[in-house]
C-alpha cells in the first residue's frame, strides 16, 4: 500500500522534508510569515477584494504593483541568503567551519543568484515597465492585457517553486547557472537542479511573453504624434531591452529544456560521456546570459535618463546619441558572451575577438554616462532622493565598469576568472546599476501610482545605508579577489589573512540590510502620513513626460482624452504653452478596456503544478495539468470579446470627482 502510494507521488517521500536546524528554521519562518499574511487577509475579510481588484486585474498599473511586491519580498529572501553567506565567510576560517555545511552553503549561493536575478531584478524591471510605459506612451493599456496578467502569474509560479524547494526537497547546489557536468544527473542526482530548471523555465516563458507584449505596445500604441524619436528615453530603453528579451530568452528556454532532457531521458547534450559537450552549455547559457545583463540594465538606464532630466530641470542632453547608444548596446551585447569563459580554451584568436568586442561595448555605455553628466551641467539640480540614487549610481557604476574593462583583457582575465574580483565587479554593475535604478524609479513614480509621495528623509537614510554598506561590502571583495580568493568558498585557511576583509564585507552587508529595513519603514511611514505628501497636481516633480499629465493616482483608464504629441518631453511642452480654455471642453468618449479575468491565474497554477510534478517525476499529474492548461487556453480563445465599455458619462463623473479633490477616488 505504502509502496503503491510512493509510486503515485514519484520521487516525493517524507525524506523530502527538512531535517537540519537551519533549513527547518528557514522553512518555519517562511511558512509562518505566509500563514500570517493569509490569516490577516482572512481576518480583515480581504480575500474577495484581493481576488476581484488585484489578482484578476488586467490593469498594467495593478500588475506592476504586484510585480513590485513580489520582487521586494524576494529581495528580502535573497538578502537573507546573502547575509548567511557573509556570516559563513566571516567565520569559517581555520578550525572553525562556520554556520553552514558545505552542501547547504552551495544551495544558498545558488538560490541567492537565481532569486536576485530572476525574481528581484526581473520583477522590479517588469513592474516598473508595467507601471510607467503605457502612461508614458499616452496609451490606456498594453497591447495584450491578458498575456500581461498570465506572464505575471507565471513569474509568481516560478517564484513559488524556488521557495518551495526550501521545505520540500532541496535547491540546486550547482551555482546560479548550473554548469554541467556538475548539474547532470550523475553528479546532482537530487531534485535541486530540477527545481532550478523548472522555476526558471516557467518564469522565463513569462518574461518572453512580456517581451513580445511590450515590444508590440511600443510599436503600435503610442499617442498620435509621438514618433519613435519623440518617445521618452525610458520607452526607448524598454524597446531595446524587450528586443533583447525576444532574441535571448528563447535560447534560455532551449538550453534549460536540453539540460532537463539530459536529466530525465538520458540524452547526451552536456554529459561528460556519450558524446555530450558541456562547453556547449556554457556557450548557450551565456548567449542568453550576457544579453540578460543588458535586459536588466537598459530600463534602469532609462529611469536615470528620466530622473536626471527632471531633477536638473533640463532637457536630456544628447537624445539622439542616447538612442544610438541603446541600439549599439543591444547589438553588441550579443557579441561578447565568451568573455565569461576566456579560460575555456577557445584559443587566442577567439578570445581576442571577444575581448575587443567587450571593450567596444564600454563605449556606448560611456556615451550615456557623459550625456547624463552634461544633462546636469548648468542644470538647476534638485537633490531629491531619486537624484541621490542616480548620483550614487554614476560613481559606483563607473568604477565597476572600469573593473569590467580590466577583465575584458583575456590574459588578465585568466587571473581574475572566478575570483572575488569578478563577484565584486558584477555586483557593482547589478546593484548600483539595476537596483539603484529601480529604487530611483520606485521613488520617482510612486506618487503617480498611489497618489502620495514617499517620505524623503527615510528615503535618504536608506540611500546612504545602501551606499556606505555597498562600498564596505564589495571593496573588500575586489581586494580579496586580487589576493587570490576565489568565489563560492565555504572555508579557507587562517594563514591567508583574509578574515579581516571578510568581516568588513559582512559589516557592509549588515548596513545594506539596515538600508532595506529603512526602505520598508519608509513605505509604512509614508502610508501612515500620506495626507502630508498627497499629490493633488498629478505632477509632483515638475515632470516632463506624459505620465505626469494625468492625475495621481492615475485613473484606471489612464487618460480621459488620449493626448496629442508634437515634441519630445511632450508634457513639458504642454506646460510651456499658454493655457487654452478650449482644452477643457473636449467631450468625453466611451472607453473600451479589457474585462478582469482569472484565467491567467489558473494557467499559471497549472504551469506550477506541471513544473512541480516534473521535478518529482509525478508524470500522471503532470499530464493532467498540461491538459488543464490546454483546455483553459482553448476556452479563453473561444470567446470573441473580452471587453468592457466605460461609458462617456461614467468617465465624466470620475473626472469631475477628481477635480473636486481626489480623496473620494
Amino acid at each position: 500500500m505504502i509502496g503503491a502510494f510512493a509510486n503515485i507521488l514519484g520521487r516525493l517521500t517524507l525524506n523530502a522534508f527538512p531535517h537540519d536546524p537551519i533549513t527547518i528554521g528557514g522553512a518555519v519562518f517562511m511558512v509562518g510569515s505566509f500563514l500570517a499574511v493569509m490569516g490577516m487577509v482572512t481576518y480583515f475579510k480581504r480575500w474577495k477584494w484581493l481576488w476581484k481588484d488585484w489578482f484578476t486585474s488586467l490593469d498594467p498599473k495593478k500588475i506592476g504593483v504586484m510585480y513590485m511586491v513580489v520582487a521586494l519580498v524576494m529581495l528580502v529572501r535573497g538578502g537573507i541568503d546573502a547575509l548567511m553567506m557573509r556570516a559563513q565567510q566571516a567565520t569559517s576560517v581555520g578550525a572553525s567551519h562556520g554556520i553552514l555545511s558545505s552542501n547547504h552553503f552551495q544551495q544558498v549561493f545558488s538560490a541567492h543568484g537565481t532569486i536576485m536575478i530572476f525574481f528581484v531584478a526581473m520583477g522590479l524591471m517588469f513592474g516598473l515597465i508595467n507601471l510607467v510605459l503605457p502612461l508614458q506612451l499616452g496609451a490606456r493599456d498594453v497591447a495584450f492585457p491578458f498575456l500581461n496578467s498570465m506572464a505575471f502569474w507565471l513569474f509568481v509560479a516560478g517564484m513559488i517553486l524556488v521557495n518551495l524547494s526550501l521545505f520540500i526537497g532541496e535547491f540546486s547546489a550547482a551555482g546560479w547557472l548550473a554548469y554541467p557536468p556538475l548539474s547532470e544527473l550523475h553528479y546532482s542526482p537530487g531534485v535541486g537542479v530540477d527545481y532550478w530548471i523548472w522555476s526558471l523555465q516557467i518564469a522565463g516563458i513569462g518574461s518572453l511573453l512580456s517581451g513580445i507584449n511590450f515590444l508590440v505596445t511600443i510599436f503600435k500604441m503610442r499617442a498620435p504624434g509621438m514618433t519613435l524619436m519623440k518617445m521618452p528615453m525610458f520607452a526607448w530603453s524598454v524597446l531595446g531591452a524587450m528586443t533583447l528579451v525576444i532574441f535571448a530568452f528563447p535560447i534560455l528556454t532551449a538550453t534549460l529544456a536540453l539540460l532537463f532532457l539530459d536529466r530525465i531521458l538520458g540524452t547526451h547534450f552536456f554529459t561528460a560521456g556519450g558524446g555530450g559537450n558541456a562547453m556547449m552549455y556554457v556557450n548557450l547559457i551565456w548567449a542568453w546570459g550576457h544579453p540578460e545583463v543588458y535586459i536588466l540594465i537598459l530600463p534602469a538606464f532609462g529611469v536615470f535618463s528620466e530622473v536626471v532630466a527632471t531633477f536638473s530641470r533640463k532637457m536630456l542632453f544628447g537624445y539622439k546619441s542616447m538612442v544610438w547608444a541603446i541600439w549599439a548596446i543591444v547589438f553588441l551585447s550579443f557579441t561578447v558572451w565568451l568573455h565569461h569563459f576566456f579560460t575555456m580554451g577557445a584559443g587566442a584568436d577567439v578570445n581576442a575577438f571577444f575581448g575587443i568586442m567587450t571593450m567596444i561595448i564600454a563605449i556606448p555605455t560611456g556615451v550615456k554616462i557623459f550625456n547624463w553628466l552634461f544633462t546636469m551641467y548648468r542644470g538647476n539640480i534638485h537633490f531629491a532622493t531619486p537624484m541621490l540614487w542616480f548620483l550614487g549610481f554614476i560613481v559606483l557604476f563607473t568604477i565597476g565598469g572600469v573593473a569590467g574593462v580590466l577583465m575584458a583583457v583575456p590574459p588578465a582575465d585568466f587571473q581574475f576568472h572566478n575570483s572575488l574580483f569578478l563577484v565584486a565587479h558584477f555586483h557593482t554593475m547589478i546593484v548600483s546599476g539595476v537596483l539603484f535604478g529601480d529604487f530611483a524609479g520606485i521613488m520617482y513614480w510612486f506618487p503617480k501610482v498611489f497618489g502620495f509621495r514617499l517620505n524623503e528623509r527615510l528615503g535618504k537614510y536608506a540611500f546612504f545605508c545602501w551606499l556606505v554598506g555597498f562600498i564596505l561590502a564589495f571593496v573588500p571583495l575586489y581586494i580579496l579577489g586580487l589576493m587570490g580568493a576565489t568565489r563560492r568558498l565555504d572555508h579557507y585557511s587562517a594563514s591567508l589573512g583574509w578574515q579581516p576583509l571578510f568581516i568588513v564585507a559582512g559589516v557592509g552587508a549588515l548596513i545594506i540590510a539596515l538600508g532595506v529595513a529603512l526602505q520598508i519603514l519608509q513605505f509604512i511611514v509614508s502610508f501612515v502620513l500620506r495626507d502630508n505628501t498627497r499629490d493633488n497636481t498629478g505632477d509632483p516633480w515638475n515632470g516632463r513626460t506624459l505620465e505626469w499629465s494625468t492625475p495621481s493616482p492615475a485613473p484606471f483608464y489612464n487618460f480621459a482624452h488620449i493626448p496629442e504629441v508634437s515634441t519630445k518631453d511632450a508634457f513639458w511642452a504642454m506646460k510651456q504653452r499658454p493655457k487654452n480654455e478650449k482644452d477643457k471642453e473636449l467631450p468625453y468618449h466611451d472607453i473600451v478596456l479589457p474585462q478582469n479575468t482569472g484565467v491567467g491565474v489558473y494557467i499559471a497554477a497549472g504551469a506550477f503544478l506541471f513544473g512541480f510534478c516534473m521535478i518529482w517525476h509525478i508524470f500522471w499529474l503532470a499530464a493532467l495539468s498540461l491538459l488543464g492548461i490546454i483546455i483553459l487556453a482553448v476556452i479563453r480563445t473561444s470567446r470573441d470579446s473580452h471587453e468592457q465599455v466605460v461609458s462617456a458619462s461614467m468617465v465624466e463623473r470620475i473626472e469631475a470627482e477628481r477635480l473636486r479633490g481626489g480623496e473620494a477616488v
Partner: protein, 207 residues
Amino acid sequence: MSQEAEAIAIEHLRHDTERRAASEKTLFGFWVYLMTDCVLFASLFATYAVLHHNTFGGPSGKQIFDMPYVLTETLLLLTSSFTCGLGVLSARRRDKRLVLVLFGITLLLGASFLGMELSEFRNLALAGNSWRRSGFLSSYFTLVGTHGLHIAIGLLWMAVMMVRVKRGHLSDNMVKRLTLLSLFWHFLDVIWIFIFTIVYLMGALGV
C-alpha cells in the same frame, strides 16, 4: 435628434478603428512570437551542428537516414502548406464549406507527416539507436522532435478551429485566427526545409 445619431455613428466608427487596430496588433505580435520560435530552433540547430559528429561509436546520419522516406514526409508537409494557404483564401471569401474541406485535407496531411515521423523515431529506437545512444542522436531527436511537437500543437489548433468554423460563422475574428494558424503552419514548413537540408541532405552526404 440627428446630432445624437451622428454622435452614435462617430462612436461606432471609433470602436471600429479600435478593433482594427487590435487586429493589427495581434498580427504583429504573432510575427514577433514566430521570431522568438525561430531563435529557439536556431539554438537547436546550433546544438545539432556542434554535436552531429559526436556519434560515440553509434551510427552516423548517413547510416540511418532513409532518404525516399524523408522525401515523402517533406512532400506531405509542403502539400499541406499549399492546402492551408488555399484554406485561408477561401476563408477570406467566406466560403465555409471550402474552408472545412481544405483545412480538413491539411489536417490529414499534417497528421500523416507526424505519423511517419513517429514511426521513423520508433524504428530507430527499436534498432537500438535512440536518443540515449550518442550526442548526435540526442540532438537529432530533439531538433526533429521539437518540430514534430510544433506540428502536433498546430494540428490540435487546427482541429479546434475547424470545430468552431463548423459551429459558427466565418466572422472577421475567425478569419484573423485562421490567418494566424496558417502563418504558424507555413513557419513550420520553413523550419522543415532547413531540417531537410541540414539534417537529412547534408547528413546523407556525410558533411
